[in-house]
């Protein structure tokens, strides 16, 4: 019957299950569900090469952002520095391992795995997704994408070291370092990468 016709032109709202007819959209416009205003789809614009460039820069920034201290504290002649990892370990050593794991996952592991996963996905798309193991690996990576991007909280971490700097500057001198700069840049590059990345579009590579 007209089953094939329906499959290609109708999309279902993920929040309220309303059937909506797909239309071509101009760029930078999002289609919203007419009933519940959930974002449905936008123009499939994501350049693989552009994303690859952003992804490699983000991976390069990831190393200094985690190796160098993000904050440096001078108090009565003694100097203390802390990387993101140190912060997580400090609370974990004091027995608050749930807090420590939350910090570690949201600010180090989450972003790191997210970037590696996107990098692998881009390489797989570039290789053409011809063999079956490539397709199954690609599917597996895409399935974890939603979770990984939820676990990545770089933007919150950037605000939080600004808040800490203000709070601590009350009784000590606070300095920013290479780590702070790298971390902020990592956040910005990842932000642009996530804006460019469209999960719908990445899934559609499997269709053809």
């Amino acid at each position: 019957m007209q089953d094939d016709d329906i499959d290609n032109s109708v999309t279902l709202c993920r929040a309220c299950d309303l059937a909506v007819r797909r239309r071509a959209l101009p760029s930078n416009v999002r289609a919203l569900c007419p009933r519940c205003h959930t974002a449905l789809y936008d123009t499939p614009y994501c350049s693989i090469n552009g994303m690859l460039a952003l992804c490699i820069s983000a991976l390069a920034l990831f190393i200094p952002a985690n190796v160098f201290p993000v904050l440096e504290l001078h108090f009565l002649g003694s100097v203390r520095t802390a990387t993101v990892f140190d912060g997580a370990m400090a609370v974990m050593d004091l027995g608050y391992w749930i807090v420590g794991i939350a910090v570690l996952v949201a600010a180090v592991l989450g972003p790191g795995i997210l970037l590696l996963s996107i990098f692998a996905q881009l390489l797989l798309v570039k290789s053409g997704l011809t063999t079956s193991w490539q397709r199954s690996l690609y599917t597996r990576l895409l399935k974890q994408q939603g979770l990984l991007s939820q676990l990545t909280m770089l933007e919150i971490y950037v605000i939080s070291f600004l808040v800490s700097a203000f709070q601590l500057s009350d009784f000590s001198d606070i300095y920013f370092g290479v780590g702070t700069f790298s971390f902020t840049m990592l956040f910005l590059v990842t932000l642009f990468l996530q804006r460019e990345y469209s999960i719908e579009h990445m899934w559609s590579y499997l269709n053809d």
Binding site: C16, L76, R80
Partner: protein, 209 residues
């Protein structure tokens, strides 16, 4: 029976894959693209969401009444709860910071729990609340929920930097764990819920504005 007929996927025999957003025929048991199980509706998600939300609401009490940080300043020990930490900030003339911390650690968790509870009550008991407003609230909660992590990040950095023994030392306190669990559980409660249930159950007459 509506004046302006809006058909849902369930009526026309289609099913939305929650993992890869593929539109599948409803007869398929698994998605044709990603192989995840096809669920036209997930009725158990309502109970899961309730369970997670109630646990989070219970944990919100210790998170607010117990101290979240301990500060040793020249041998003098002070305990700070979330709220007293914010009042200190206000008294030391850091109003903008106080507003940020207040939003992230008090306003957002409470909003999330009250908002989600309203949403779940509306589904469970067919309350006559505008579905569109509920949905807008739900999207807002989903988006702002993660910002509660701010306080935990600040604590971890402060603890790592301020460790000069009896002179000056900051440590986390029991409320930190409770607060971390509140964030985790409320995020999960919002994530597991199948929002299509709201649109199935409520009467069409509530959808006018």
């Amino acid at each position: 029976m509506t004046d302006r007929h809006q058909s849902t996927g369930k009526h026309i025999g289609l099913c939305h894959c929650s993992v890869c957003h593929q539109t599948n025929p409803i007869e398929l048991s698994h998605c044709s693209r990603c192989g995840a199980e096809n669920k036209p509706r997930d009725y158990s998600s309502l109970h899961k969401s309730w369970a997670l939300l109630i646990t989070a609401a219970i944990l919100l009490i210790p998170a607010n009444i117990y101290p979240i940080t301990t500060l040793v300043n020249q041998g003098k020990v002070t305990h700070d709860t979330i709220f007293s930490g914010i009042t200190h900030l206000v008294h030391s003339d850091m109003l903008p910071i106080a507003i940020i911390v207040f939003t992230a650690s008090i306003l957002v968790p409470w909003l999330k729990i009250i908002g989600l509870a309203t949403y779940l009550i509306a589904i469970s008991f067919d309350l006559p609340v505008s579905k569109r407003k509920l949905m807008a609230g739900f999207h807002f909660i989903e988006w702002i929920g993660r910002w509660s992590m701010l306080d935990l990040f600040v604590i971890s950095l402060t603890v790592a930097l301020v460790n000069m023994g009896q002179l000056l030392d900051a440590k986390p306190a029991p409320a930190a764990t409770a607060f971390a669990l509140v964030i985790l559980l409320t995020q999960l409660a919002a994530k597991v819920l199948d929002t299509r249930l709201l649109w199935d159950r409520l009467d069409v007459k509530n959808d006018k504005h």
